[in-house]
């Protein structure tokens, strides 16, 4: 190999290394909205996963949950008093008692208020 080829080769390796290294370091966040939900259930059913110590099936997973809106806050709603869904944006056009289906990432069960919590929610219907 001539010296020139060696330099070109080293440069290519370096560029590829930087490219893949950078992509690894700064990979994108999960896009919950575009992920397929692992379960599509009611608010009460989501809570049973935590009561039955089955939480690993839904924890950190994308879930689709249906229920009636029982509480509306600035950036979250509560379904059937059992599941709190947090949105990344401010909510409007939602009404108490409206039936709704949302998709989001289940982050766990909150014993203080006895609600399962979901973040990065998006409205399905």
């Amino acid at each position: 190999m001539t010296k020139q080829i060696k330099i070109v080769f080293a440069l290519i390796v370096l560029v590829l290394g930087v490219y893949f290294g950078y992509n690894y370091m700064y990979q994108d966040h999960r896009n919950i909205e575009s992920e397929v939900a692992v379960v599509s259930i009611s608010a009460a059913e989501l809570v049973t996963f935590f009561n039955e110590n089955n939480s690993e099936k839904v924890l950190n997973k994308t879930v689709q949950v249906s229920g009636k809106i029982t509480e509306i806050d600035a950036n979250n709603i509560t379904l059937d008093d059992q599941v709190q869904c947090n949105f990344d944006s401010i909510l409007n056009n939602l009404k108490i008692n409206e039936s709704i289906t949302i998709k989001g990432r289940c982050i766990g069960f909150d014993e203080l208020f006895e609600v399962a919590k979901i973040d990065q929610s998006s409205i399905i219907k």
Binding site: M25, L59, N60, N76, N86, D110, E111, L112, K117, D119
Partner: protein, 183 residues
């Protein structure tokens, strides 16, 4: 007249017992923490669905689902959850304590400083802390803000040597809660 007295006293007791049960709650409090080291990538996360309950006797409890902490860099969030805080095994971070000398009637729309003592539990480890908190009340809403420092080593969280220079030893935590009255 005696009857009137009796009813006034009775009313007083009913009112005071109602008052005693009064609590202030939120399900969307925020906690931010930062462990950045100058000239390295910022290590910072925020959580905006933290639950908290403040009782009128000054008892305060808060719970954050650890997976709800969001970082700017996705890989950092993954490492935080999987390698450091181990959020699948320890999904919750909690605080339980008391605001010293808390008296709801002393609150105004100006921040008042209080001392809070209690126990932080995370990564399965309890740690007693004492910190300052600032409280004010507007209408039926109590605003509570606080800042304190936590150390990963106190919670048996090991930071590998390779990255330890990029993560501060003292982690600055700030929390703020908008607690709504509920009887």
């Amino acid at each position: 007249m005696k009857k009137l007295m009796f009813f006034t006293v009775l009313l007083f007791f009913i009112l005071s017992s109602v008052n005693a049960q009064e609590k202030f709650i939120t399900k969307s409090g925020t906690i931010n923490f930062e462990a950045s080291v100058p000239s390295f990538e910022e290590v910072k996360a925020n959580h905006n669905s933290v639950s908290a309950i403040l009782k009128s006797n000054g008892e305060f409890a808060s719970l954050a689902l650890v997976k709800g902490f969001r970082f700017k860099v996705a890989l950092m969030e993954e490492h935080f959850n999987e390698n450091y805080i181990e959020s699948s095994t320890y999904p919750k971070a909690t605080f339980k304590g008391k605001i010293k000398g808390f008296n709801i009637s002393e609150l105004s729309d100006l921040d008042k400083e209080y001392i809070v003592t209690g126990t932080v539990n995370m990564h399965g480890v309890d740690k007693n802390i004492e910190t300052k908190a600032y409280l004010k009340k507007e209408g039926s809403i109590i605003y509570l803000t606080t800042n304190f420092i936590l150390k990963p080593e106190d919670f048996q969280i090991e930071i590998p040597k390779v990255v330890s220079s990029k993560i501060a030893e003292e982690i600055n935590v700030s929390a703020s809660f908008e607690l709504k009255g509920k009887s």
